[in-house]
């Protein structure tokens, strides 16, 4: 095949990829964790994403957009996984395998937030994570998700509506704990 316009030599590509992984795999893995709400799935998703990113390294002409491209791959893969698993997976209020017991309210709050995130459809979850964890603008979220800004707004509104009750309850629990 004719090399792509952004073609880079393999040695250069491997070097760039290694540097990128060293610099960004942590933030990507955290992003994957928020999407999947599961550590092992997050690691699988990260590896799968990095493999795909490597395969299309030459396609990304603007190296500054690598992060956005990686997140886009991750979101698409997660949605595909979710579709495959949705027929056999049962979403529960509580995590089936809770973490090591901890008496502090912060850990409970995190577990509750994980549970609430798991209840969100993948698109809403991705929207709220991109918007409020990655601090992307609505336009940027729309670009990553491949949808309109209006869709981003509506998805965000629904997701926040769901989380609102949960966080309000969490705040009440925190007050009670401190009292």
């Amino acid at each position: 095949m004719r090399p792509h316009p952004g073609y880079v030599k393999r040695a250069d590509r491997d070097g760039e990829f290694t540097a990128y992984v060293a610099a960004c795999s942590g933030s990507l893995e955290r992003f994957a964790y928020l999407l999947t709400t599961d550590a092992s799935q997050a690691q699988d998703l990260l590896q799968s994403t990095l493999m795909q990113l490597l395969a299309h390294w030459s396609d990304v002409r603007d190296r500054a957009s690598l992060d956005a491209y990686a997140r886009k791959i991750m979101i698409n893969k997660h949605r595909a996984w979710w579709r495959r698993r949705s027929s056999s997976e049962v979403i529960t209020d509580r995590l089936i395998m809770p973490s090591v017991p901890d008496a502090t309210w912060q850990v409970d709050a995190r577990q509750d937030l994980l549970s609430q995130l798991r209840k969100l459809p993948p698109r809403q979850r991705a929207t709220v994570v991109l918007r409020y964890y990655e601090d992307m603008s609505e336009a940027e979220v729309a670009a990553v998700l491949g949808c309109s800004i209006g869709t981003v707004k509506s998805q965000t509104s629904r997701a926040l509506g769901h989380l609102r009750a949960h966080l309000a309850q969490g705040a009440a629990n925190e007050e009670a704990h401190r009292a």
């Binding site: 095949m1 990829f17 990095l50 395969a55 964890y133 601090d135």
Partner: protein, 253 residues
């Protein structure tokens, strides 16, 4: 409210322990998967063939080891791009690629992704797939453009649009006979040719196992549409769709 969500998500993410990723292992795995997974198509395209001008002139494989000035002859059919010849050998038995010293310029311009997706849409529309089939873009795919054609039962077909910049020898994918089962046929009513492969990579299986069928339609200008389906899909059916897709788009390439 949004700031509370921001804080909560950040707290949740920061509480998560990340692990270092071995980039070199990923590169090694990628190299191995690439070698196996796209052996029939993409990897083959990297192997330049012998002189096309001589093949066109002779209509046979007899001159594959000698190069000819006429290799820049304009292509007239999809078969121009496909060489069915066993790989030449060095005296010590190893294989070599004569095209290393004879690059072939492409007569076809590289198309844009938009054009690639449009071509896939035309092939999809003309293929005669079951009613209710849908087409979805895969921006992360191979080639110029990649789509998923989803049949009513949920079966996914991978449609890959690409273009060759030089003829390929589809028997040269490996020295151990990979490619020996691939059939080459003309697509009736068109100037396209097709490679029909009953043992092609289908899914992104971690170990790169084969497990699918593929039909690659190569047009006279070197542009290709590859139809890939699972092994439980009848190859004749897949071929019928691919051929209909090519026949229904005659004149639009």
């Amino acid at each position: 409210m949004p700031s509370e969500v921001h804080v909560a998500l950040r707290d949740l993410a920061e509480s998560y322990t990340t692990y270092p990723v071995d980039a070199k292992a990923l590169i090694k795995q990628h190299t191995r998967r690439k070698r196996v997974k796209i052996a029939v198509f993409t990897s083959l395209a990297a192997l330049v063939t012998t002189s096309m001008g001589l093949l066109v002139a002779n209509g046979s494989n007899s001159g594959r080891t000698s190069l000819h000035e006429g290799s820049t002859t304009d292509p007239r059919t999809g078969r121009y791009w496909l060489i069915d010849a066993p790989p030449p050998r060095h005296a010590d038995g190893t294989f070599y690629d004569p095209a290393d010293s004879q690059p072939t310029a492409s007569p076809a311009p590289r198309e844009s992704k938009a054009s690639g997706y449009a071509a896939l849409q035309r092939a999809f529309d003309a293929a005669g797939l079951p009613r209710g089939s849908t087409l979805q873009h895969r921006p992360d795919g191979y080639g110029t453009a990649t789509d998923d054609a989803i049949l009513p039962g949920g079966t996914r077909l991978l449609l890959i649009r690409d273009e060759l910049d030089r003829p390929i020898n589809f028997r040269m994918s490996s020295s151990d006979g990979v490619g020996a089962h691939i059939l080459e046929q003309d697509v009736p009513g068109t100037r396209s040719a097709a490679l029909i492969d009953d043992n092609s990579p289908y899914a992104d299986s971690p170990d790169g196992r084969y497990g699918g069928h593929a039909v690659t339609v190569v047009a006279a200008d070197g542009t290709t549409v590859m139809w890939v389906g699972p092994s439980n899909l009848n190859l004749t059916t897949l071929k019928g769709w691919a051929f209909s897709g090519a026949q229904g788009t005659v004149g639009s390439e």
